[in-house]
Assembly symmetry: C2
Homo-oligomer: 433 residues x 2
C-alpha cells in the first residue's frame, strides 16, 4: 500500500442525488478512513509476520491480546461487552428502545497461519468505526447497535470452522465444540479459559446482521467496482475421489491394455470444469488436490486420489452438478477400464441473504455513487451461520489481486472506507426502522 | 509358481515339420527345463527377499556373490572367463575356428531394489544352459559361443543405466562410468574393486548377439503366446513439463477468471494419450508423474509439474509425436491462460534389431510350433546398446500378468524353457554359418 493510494479519495464521496434513496441521516455522515486504517494497522501488529501478514491463531495468547485490544476500544466507545460459552464477544451500544433487538455487525479476529491483516479483522473494526462515528455525530438509534467477534472462524487450530457463529446458530453445541482438541491435545474449553474468553453470558438474538469483509476473490478489482453487494453464499459439496487402475511399465504396455488411473482422473478434472461451465447460479467446480501413485515417470499410474469441490448459489442446481459429475465419472470409468469411487465429505447448503438488507446495501452504495455490483460469496463466512437466526447480508470490498489467506493480502484504505460507509447507512436505516 | 505348472509340458516340443525350416542340428535337441529352473532358483537365493523377490544391487557384495556363482558355473562348463574395465564378464566356449568372432548371448544379474528372480538373470542363465546343452550333446560350433554378464543394467545404485553394455558400445567411456558415485559417495571404480570385478581384459567384438528376457509387459500372456520375436526396441523421448497458472481460492474465483494449472495439465495428459493413439509403430505416450501445488482441496492449483514419456519404434514418427504434444501444449496454454514449459530430458533413438537374426528366431519358434508373435521391446535392454556393434536380436517369454521390477515377478518354467530352446537353435545356426 503506497502512501499515494492511501491518501486517494474516491469520487464516490460526493453527496447522493436526493431522489435516489433518501437516507435517514445526513448523507454526508461518513466514517473516518484514517481512524479505521489506524485501528487495522494497530491490531495487525499483534502476531505480525516478517512478510507483512498476521499469524494469530484462534484462542492462542496472541488471539487473547487481539481480542483484549478490540474489547478495550469498544468499551472506550461506550459499549457494554459480554462473552458467551464459546468465547463469542458482543458489544452493545444502547438504543433508545432498550427492549428492541440489536442490529449487529461483526466478523472474526483470528487468522490463518500465514494470514493477512484484513480477513475478518476488517468486519469487526468497521463495526467499531461505525460506533465511533455515531458517537462523534451524537446520533442515537432506536435499536441498540451490536458488534460481535466470533470465535475461531478460520478453523485451522480447532475444527469445525466458523465455530462461534455455528454455535450461535445452533449448528453445533458449545459443549461439543469446547471438547475439540488442537494438535497438542489442548481443548477449546482449556484454550478459552487460558485467555480469559471463557464466558457465561447468553448471546442476544439480533434484529439483523451485517458483515463487511474483503472479497477474497478477483471480481471487484477486475471490474473496477468498490462495493460488492453480496446476495448469497454459495452452497458447497465436497467429494473425495479414488481412481483405481493398474500400475504397469510405460514401455512394454500397449495403450489398449492400460488401466491408467491418471488418464481417467485427468478426464474427470476436465469434466468437473465442463459441468461447472454448463450450470448457472455462480457455478464453480474445482479439483485442488490430486495425488498420483506410484508417481514414477515410466510407470503407468495405478491409483489417483483427488478432491472435487462443487459450489452453486442454488441448491437444486448444486445437486444437478453433483449428479452430472457422477455420471461423467461412471462413463470415464467404463471407457478407461478403471474404478472410480466418489464419497461426499462436506455439504453446506446455499445461503440466500435477506433481500431487504441486500437491497438496502445496494441503494446505499448507489446513493454514495460507489461503483458496485451484486455477487455471491464463494467462501464461507460467519454471516452464513448468523443468517439462520435473523435477516443478514454482507458488504464486500476489493482485495489486491483477489489474494487472501496469505501474508501479502492487501486492501485499499479508500475501499475499506467505502464499505464502512455503506454498512453505516444500511445499519442506521435498519436501526431506526 | 505351482508344482503343477512347473511340470507342465508345452505342446510345442513336438518335432517341427520337415519342410518348414531345416535346423542345422537335430530339431529334437532341447535344453533342460529343470536344470535352467534350478540355476535360476539357486541364483535367486542370493539377495532373496521375504516376499519372494531379489534385492541384489549392482556391484554390492551380493552382486559379487551372484557373479561368482555364475562365473563358477561357466568355468565348470569349460568356458574361459574374463572381465573388462567396467566389470563386464564374458565367458567363451571355443569354436572350431578360434579366429572367428563369437556368437554371444547375455544379459545382467544385478536387480532392482525390490526386483524379481528373472529380469536379467534369465538371459545370462539361458546362455549358460545352452553351453551346457551343447556340451552334453557333444556339439562343436564353428564360431566360439560367448556368454556375457553386463554390469549395472538397472541403474538404481549408479547412473547411467545399462552402464556395462553402454561402455561396450562406446555410448560412454569406462573412465567416466568408473567415476560415478552412489548415494554414499562410493565410486563405481571402488565398488568394482571391492567385489573383485575390476578387470583389465578387453571385451572381444561379437559376430552376433542374442538376449533372452522376460517380456516385462502383458502382451504375450494376454494373447496366449510363448515366444516374443523382438523386432525393435522403442525409441524414447522424455520430457519435464511445468504448467504455471495462478493459485486462487476455489470459492470466490469465477471460472472465467481462473488460471488453473491442474485443468491445463489434465488436458495435456489427455492430449498425450490422443497423440499416441493417432500414431503407428508401437506408439506409447505416458504421464507417470504429476505433482500439484499447493495441492489443497479448496485452492485452484497454480503450478503443476509432470513428466511425459513418448515411445515409438520409428524415429521420424517419434519426432512427429513430440511435435504434436508441443502443439497441443501451446493450444492448451493459450486456451487456459497458463504457461507450459517443456524440456526434453532423455532421448534414446529407436533400435531396429537385425532382420536376419529376427527372422532366425521367428523360423525357429515356428519350427518348434511355439505360439509366437513379433513385438517391440518397450523398455531398454543391454541388447539395444550391443546392437550398435553387431547384429543383435532378443527373445521374449511371458511374465505373469506382465509384472516386473517387483518382488512378485513370476514366469512359467515351460516358457523359460521354450525361449532357451529358440535361442539355442538360432545361436547354433549363426555359429555354424
Amino acid at each position: 500500500m503506497s502512501a499515494a493510494s492511501r491518501g486517494r479519495t474516491l469520487p464516490a464521496t460526493r453527496s447522493p442525488p436526493a431522489m435516489n434513496a433518501p437516507l435517514p441521516v445526513p448523507a454526508t455522515l461518513s466514517t473516518s478512513s484514517d481512524r479505521l486504517w489506524s485501528s487495522l494497522m494497530t491490531l495487525a501488529k499483534i502476531g505480525a509476520t516478517p512478510r507483512g501478514g498476521v499469524r494469530r491463531l484462534a484462542l492462542t495468547e496472541l488471539d487473547g491480546e487481539g481480542r483484549a485490544l478490540v474489547i478495550g476500544w469498544l468499551r472506550e466507545a461506550g459499549c457494554s461487552v459480554a462473552t458467551d460459552a464459546i468465547g463469542n464477544v458482543y458489544a452493545i451500544r444502547p438504543g433508545t428502545d432498550p427492549a428492541a433487538r440489536p442490529v449487529a455487525m461483526g466478523s472474526h479476529v483470528d487468522t490463518q497461519p500465514n494470514g493477512g491483516r484484513f480477513d475478518g479483522n476488517y468486519g469487526v473494526l468497521a463495526g467499531l468505526e461505525i460506533v465511533r462515528t455515531l458517537n462523534d455525530a451524537g446520533i442515537a438509534t432506536t435499536r441498540p447497535i451490536a458488534v460481535a467477534i466470533w470465535t475461531n472462524e478460520e478453523g485451522t487450530r480447532f475444527q469445525p470452522v466458523m465455530m462461534g457463529s455455528g454455535v450461535f446458530a445452533g449448528a453445533f453445541t458449545a459443549e461439543h465444540c469446547r471438547a475439540q482438541k488442537d494438535a497438542d491435545g489442548i481443548t477449546v474449553g482449556e484454550a478459552l479459559a487460558s485467555i480469559g474468553a471463557d464466558g457465561t453470558d447468553p448471546m442476544p438474538a439480533f434484529d439483523a446482521y451485517f458483515e463487511a469483509h474483503i472479497e477474497q476473490g478477483p471480481v471487484l478489482e477486475r471490474e473496477g467496482k468498490v462495493i460488492g453487494i453480496v446476495e448469497s453464499a454459495l452452497g458447497q459439496r465436497w467429494f473425495d475421489v479414488v481412481v483405481e487402475g493398474q500400475d504397469a511399465h510405460a514401455g512394454p504396455t500397449p495403450l489398449e491394455m492400460r488401466r491408467d488411473a491418471l488418464l481417467a482422473a485427468s478426464r474427470l478434472v476436465v469434466a468437473v470444469r465442463e459441468v461447472a461451465q454448463a450450470h448457472p447460479h455462480y457455478a464453480r467446480g474445482t479439483v485442488g488436490r490430486l495425488i498420483v501413485s506410484p508417481n514414477s515417470r515410466n510407470v503407468i499410474p495405478g491409483r489417483v486420489e483427488l478432491s472435487i469441490d462443487l459450489r452453486n448459489a442454488d441448491a437444486a442446481t448444486l445437486d444437478a452438478m453433483a449428479d452430472a459429475v457422477r455420471e461423467a465419472a461412471s462413463r470415464i470409468a467404463a471407457e478407461d477400464n478403471v474404478s472410480i469411487s466418489i464419497e461426499q465429505t462436506v455439504h453446506f447448503p446455499p445461503c440466500a441473504f435477506d433481500p431487504a438488507l441486500v437491497g438496502a446495501i445496494e441503494s446505499t452504495a448507489q446513493a454514495f455513487g460507489y461503483p458496485a455490483r451484486r455477487l455471491a460469496s464463494g467462501a464461507g463466512h460467519d454471516a452464513v451461520y448468523v443468517a439462520r437466526t435473523c435477516p443478514a447480508a454482507m458488504v464486500f470490498v476489493p482485495c489486491e489481486k483477489g489474494i487472501s489467506h496469505n501474508e501479502i493480502e492487501n486492501a485499499d484504505p479508500a475501499h475499506l472506507h467505502a464499505g464502512t460507509n455503506v454498512m453505516l447507512h444500511a445499519v442506521l436505516a435498519r436501526a431506526n426502522r
